[in-house]
Symmetry: none
Subunit: 227 residues, 2 copies
Amino acid sequence: MDDWLSDLDMGGDISFFSEEHPNPTLYCVANETHVQTGAKRGRSSWETPTRDHIMSERKRRQLMAERFIALSAIIPGLKKIDKASVLSEAINYVKQLKGRIAVLEQESSNKKSMMIFTKKCLQSHPHCEKNSNHVLPQLQVEAIGLELEREVLIRILCEKPKGIFLKLLTLLENMHLSIVSSNVLPLGKNTLNITIIAQMGEEYNMTGDELMSKLTQDLFKLYEVPQ
Amino acid sequence: MDDWLSDLDMGGDISFFSEEHPNPTLYCVANETHVQTGAKRGRSSWETPTRDHIMSERKRRQLMAERFIALSAIIPGLKKIDKASVLSEAINYVKQLKGRIAVLEQESSNKKSMMIFTKKCLQSHPHCEKNSNHVLPQLQVEAIGLELEREVLIRILCEKPKGIFLKLLTLLENMHLSIVSSNVLPLGKNTLNITIIAQMGEEYNMTGDELMSKLTQDLFKLYEVPQ
DNA sequence: GTACACACGTGAGCC
DNA sequence: TGGCTCACGTGTGTA
């Protein structure tokens, strides 16, 4: 078959109306066609409109050929390189990529909905957890409260979301928890460890469940995870 | 411009050599071309080889046109529908899809490489084991490691012992963990929340179990609690 | 020899 | 009107 990929750069492709004709074969072919048509019409086909037409059509073909080459270049595992195959492979490849994206997005979505939070109430339960390897949750909230001092330790391990710290503080404010001290440490590239110690208002009593419920409810909204 | 998308199904496209000619215009055009060429050659171009050639070429064009339509069908937001644009948009779209996949795979990879070892060990007061539900443990150690970044988050909640922070840092040093950042927050009067992020030395590999084992072993000695 | 893929020039349709 | 795209038949090279 013709190697249309390399034909692009052949001199004959553009030398039809140039001064020299580096590719005699192609020149002759083109010239023959021209003469034939000219004879039929009884006038020279070298007139400007026809020449422009030929030139623009040639340009259009060249452009398409370039695009074909570019398209075939980004399709991996291309075996047959004829244009029809390139098109068909491109179609398959696009479908394949779409499918892969769908899978990945599904995975990502699953992961988000799989995120569980560690719900620790005001009193921690003293027993050893022997959990071995597992995936880091997107959001992990833990609250430990001291009833006597009415202080709460809140530890949050989460993916870096925009403005979570401010939202967290606002949230605590609304829960009548005043910040005693706080700390934010980055873990890796995408994770934040937030530690907050807050004082519960004297007039507002809250159980650990209530606190955790409110806290997690609003925080998980940031990740659009249904409760 | 010609609507090459709808040209596909036009009768003239395939009726050239059929018995009827449902599209007179196209038929005439084709016939004229044929006669012209035939005259030049001085013989009928209806001979079998030429006809087959024409037919196969026509088939090839039709196939390509179908592929073009199929390709343009799976490219969203296609504005210009000329072939060159379809090709160029297809190229862009493929690149775009590839980019999206790269992002998603990176995310997924991050998540997977974030396989962590979460170890939690709680040691409660020996004298409070019966109603331990309501009492803060004497020592709570938690380590969360990011395998990819070789970073470890260590969270310790403990009664204020003398010099635990220094001992902790020394211990980590001996485990070839270099401190990236740390924070100590007091909770109530008697409790400390220590947060440490440390980097694991490249040459020292440690499993989560090993880390927790060493960490807790030494820390619990501070409280003289038998392992 | 023959089957196929290509580039070409060309006429025509459409803004 | 001119500039654009398209399908067509054709000659040619290659497997």
